[in-house]
Symmetry: C2
Subunit: 204 residues, 2 copies
DNA sequence: AACAAAAGCGGGGTGAAGTCCGCTTATGCT
DNA sequence: AGCATAAGCGGACTTCACCCCGCTTTTGTT
């Protein structure tokens, strides 16, 4: 499951001023996103708004994407918690097929809810599973193995199913093409697709 | 299948000098890629190497990604040809399950062979299936429909399977992580994964 | 051949990400 | 408290994609 020890810009013995500035920057980022959307969060504007230098922003977060990863981090960690030790079928206890199904049913709404920030958090110069978001692939791989799929296919399938699950929301669909489901409880198209896919994959 | 009529920078009544310059630019781009890789193909360097102004590069190709799309265009068109009117199982004639299987078996090597350029051709400000590469999703959708999958799932599954097929090579794996298969005829991990996935999906 | 209109050209300008390095400040030790 | 040192800071600088718009060349017309 590979929890990154140092999510982003949170070194172990962080100096007090550094911690304060990190909070200030995240706060400023949240405000700017709420007011104008992620597109207008530029490094210069963010630094100015937080009353800090641009160098500081990069020192804390490494890149533009890093800011959004940090913003996502808390929620991502909570999600991971639910998967690792929450109640079944998402958490351990249910059989692998159910857990895989449940994972998609939880993950897609999670990404929908955070889609603006999640999209901004992908670092376009790195392979996608950057930051804390990288839980998906190993988890899927593990469940596929437990479900008894042939070991020779596990690596390929894990990559492909990760792409099938997260790719559409992170990369393949533009922001306008991500409509919330009309009725709040109506299942999303992608959720239904995922359930169908997983159902068939693990049926044999 | 939606063949884009005007692939990139190839207007119908193109002036003679424009056509010549387009060729020059593509030629320079090929040379630069061969010498130094896609990363060093900057708009300034490309313009200078071709002996033209930077404005011209943008007029011809619209964006950096456009250059790589144009480079891919011929091969992409040939691939499309094979799918639309080549021999089965890739072309029409075989049953949908076979065609879907064959599509992945052909598409993955195609992307592997072109991966450097294909990656550079994705426009990171647009939803991914930009340019001529957008054939995949509608084709998959059509075949899924012909295979008798429930219409309610077609849209979701088509997006997800497209992501499963192309996402890993275009987006999810870094360049270093895309090793050619050790033995030239050994099937790639992703090909095997795809065949397995499609086999299960259409088995029921 | 001369002309008008359209198409194309070029390169300076802009905005944004990311780097660098000398200066400042917190921290832990004595 | 005073000091040495490492951590942090800031903002000028570089690089790059992309825009803009006045000038030049081609082309179709007469």
């Amino acid at each position: 499951m590979t929890v990154p020890l140092e999510p982003f810009g949170k070194p172990r013995g962080e100096r007090a001023d550094a911690a304060r500035n990190r909070e200030r920057l995240l706060e400023a980022a949240r405000a700017m996103i709420a007011e104008q959307g992620t597109r207008h969060v530029t490094m210069d504007a963010l630094a100015e708004r937080a009353g800090l230098g641009k160098g500081t922003v990069f020192r804390r977060f490494g890149s533009r994407a890093g800011i959004f990863q940090a913003l996502l981090d808390d929620d991502e960690r909570r999600f991971q918690e639910r998967v690792l030790s929450g109640p079944p079928p998402l958490g351990p206890g249910a059989d692998p097929a159910q857990r895989l199904d449940a994972y998609g049913c939880a993950r897609i709404p999670f990404l929908l809810e955070h889609h603006a920030i999640a999209r901004a958090a992908v670092d376009r110069t790195l392979p996608v599973p950057a930051g804390a978001a990288s839980m998906t692939q190993p988890h899927i791989r593990m469940l596929l193995g437990q479900a008894g799929l042939p070991p020779a296919h596990l690596d390929g399938l894990a990559v492909q199913l990760t792409a099938a699950l997260e790719g559409p929301l992170l990369l393949y669909l533009s922001v306008e093409e991500v409509p919330e489901p009309p009725a709040p409880e109506a299942p999303h198209l992608l959720v239904e697709g995922w359930r169908f896919l997983i159902g068939r994959l693990l049926a044999g």
